[in-house]
Symmetry: C2
Subunit: 345 residues, 2 copies
């Protein structure tokens, strides 16, 4: 990479797939899930300011500003505070609206893990060359299983740098279609990581989702600066339709590239994934955090949350304690945590 | 029954088989385990003062006096406070030492359930007649399974009133011996419920375990009365060897009778038993207490202990919360709770 990249970190969400730990102000990205560092801090560290990367722009909600600042520590960053959630297209539009037209923006979720950072950096280098040629670049994760939890990207014509023009985006598929794509090859998972020239994205948004960009642009212009933070104007931003960047731009544009990359990526979308990707486990495959006693128990994920958890004769379950909430479920049922989160929140 | 019976309720223990709820000052007998009433209150209510029963004598440790008084409510009782635990022989000796020689004492644990109180009362009537003839009477539970957690009583020669002379006591047997006894018939479980004339037990103790009785007798004489409570003298009581009434007296005496009775008895010796005997359960066989959310879960015992417990896709487990302790185990592994209790207490 010879170009400076501007990381843009999306920090707005608070999903419930890792309930009860992830909720409200305690969003998943701020939790230390697979290591001692939170996912947000891992994300920041992945593109360190210096030779290749500028200090990041961080998009977050008002409720998360304090946590973001605390976890940033001494690192330099620009915060853009979203007055209300309006999905990823509007959030990215805020970042685009305040950027130089020729800046290369690398948009990343804040709650993913990437094991192989060298592979990630190499892919960014390939993507940057394409972004300079006005491709909207996505990074496609090479699938290793027929996962039905992700959108897929079908590769089209080959481009320079082990990349492809995108043929089409496939929404989260049923299992048989996921199996078919895995067997056929030429498909990758849409990880929600994008790289583009700011001016190019501005033009794409004005073409494909003008209302979103104009609301975001006015919201930045009318916004309030407070030190390193820009508080986007609420009245203007509220007018932005809520849509994902995939629907609003990527699926509609005809110059989108995918850079396939195998980099040990996971979106940690379930407690099962947290168990699978934990940095440390005991000889019986248990992953524990906090004051946990295990007797004749194997393959469990136990997060004690300040309480004292004792398992006797249990296998392959998640026990997650957070405040007064205690969740118990088989790890294999992790997708169904939403039932509990919905009932409890 | 034409005679007045003096109930003697043993309230001293604090077992760990129902850990984490049962421990220290929060002993099993004071917990509402199968119904809204605690086992202790159920025990008191089983022999109500009036036509047949005198107000009970309650033996308990110092740590439990406040709880006993609170749960007694307006009921009349005499408390005998044991300065330290010395097992059942010494506890019963305290009750015997302060009783009239001709009083008929009905000794009962405080942490059992009896579903059929009419059957229990009928058995007491049969036992009382034998006790007046100076038999030491035990009540034998008719076994319905080869349980290895109880001692067994072998019936000998038949006596009046559907009773038998005891041939011998059998300690907690291995499974094959338990199965043999169940198949052979003529055996019953030793439930630790006894009926005898106080003077007769005094003589038996002076014969079989003189040191225990003499220490208890002196401890009563030197004890301190405070309203309805007798605080046994600690220096004297400490001299009593710790032994069970079974070992110290029953197994040695040659005039012991057993009155077999089927009365829906359980010692609630495990969380599995608590689940099996619960008064209420949902259509999927879940027994819950407190704030419990269940999704696609069946056959579980969940006691939320003031917290909020959510189960997703779980079957046949116990989740018991008490203070900061959270226990999770298959109900079928309930016997192994001691491993956790030992590690945690």
């Amino acid at each position: 990479m010879s170009l400076m990249i501007q990381p843009v970190i999306l920090c707005g969400g608070a999903g419930t797939r890792l309930w009860p730990e992830s909720r409200g102000t305690c969003a998943k990205q701020f939790l230390p899930l697979t290591a001692s560092e939170s996912l947000f801090r891992q994300t920041i560290a992945r593109t360190p300011a210096g030779q290749h990367f500028m200090p990041p722009v961080i998009l977050c909600g008002d409720a998360h500003v304090a946590t973001v600042r605390e976890q940033m520590g001494v690192h330099e960053a620009t915060l853009i505070v979203e007055p209300m959630p309006r999905n990823t297209a509007a959030a990215i539009a805020l970042a685009v609206a305040q950027a130089d037209a020729d800046a290369l923006l690398l948009v990343m979720p804040s709650d993913h893990v990437i094991a192989d950072i060298a592979a990630f950096h190499a892919a960014i280098g390939r993507g940057a060359a394409l972004a300079q040629q006005d491709w909207l670049v996505t990074f496609g994760i090479t699938p290793d299983r027929p996962d039905t939890g992700f959108g897929y990207i079908a590769s089209g014509a080959p481009l320079d740098g082990d990349a492809f023009a995108v043929d089409r985006f496939v929404e989260k598929p049923p299992l048989d279609e996921a199996e078919r794509m895995l067997a056929a090859g030429g498909y990758s998972w849409n990880a929600g990581i994008f790289l583009f020239r700011a001016g190019r994205m501005r033009d794409a948004m004005l073409t494909h989702c003008r209302a979103i960009f104009e609301a975001a642009d006015r919201s930045v212009a009318a916004g309030m600066r407070d030190g390193d933070a820009l508080y986007a104007d609420a009245i203007e931003f509220e007018r932005a339709p809520a849509d994902s960047i995939d629907y609003a731009v990527m699926e509609k544009d005809d110059r989108v590239a995918v850079v396939p990359v195998a980099m040990g990526w996971s979106d940690l979308g379930s407690w099962q994934a947290v168990h699978a990707l934990a940095a440390e486990r005991d000889a019986a495959g248990n992953v524990t955090g906090g004051d946990v006693f295990l007797h004749d128990s194997s393959g469990n994920l136990v997060r004690a949350g300040g309480k004292r958890v004792s398992l006797v004769g249990m296998s392959d379950v998640a026990v997650v304690v957070d405040g007064d909430d205690i969740l118990v479920m088989p790890l294999a049922r992790s997708q169904d945590v939403r039932a509990a989160a919905k009932a409890r929140e």
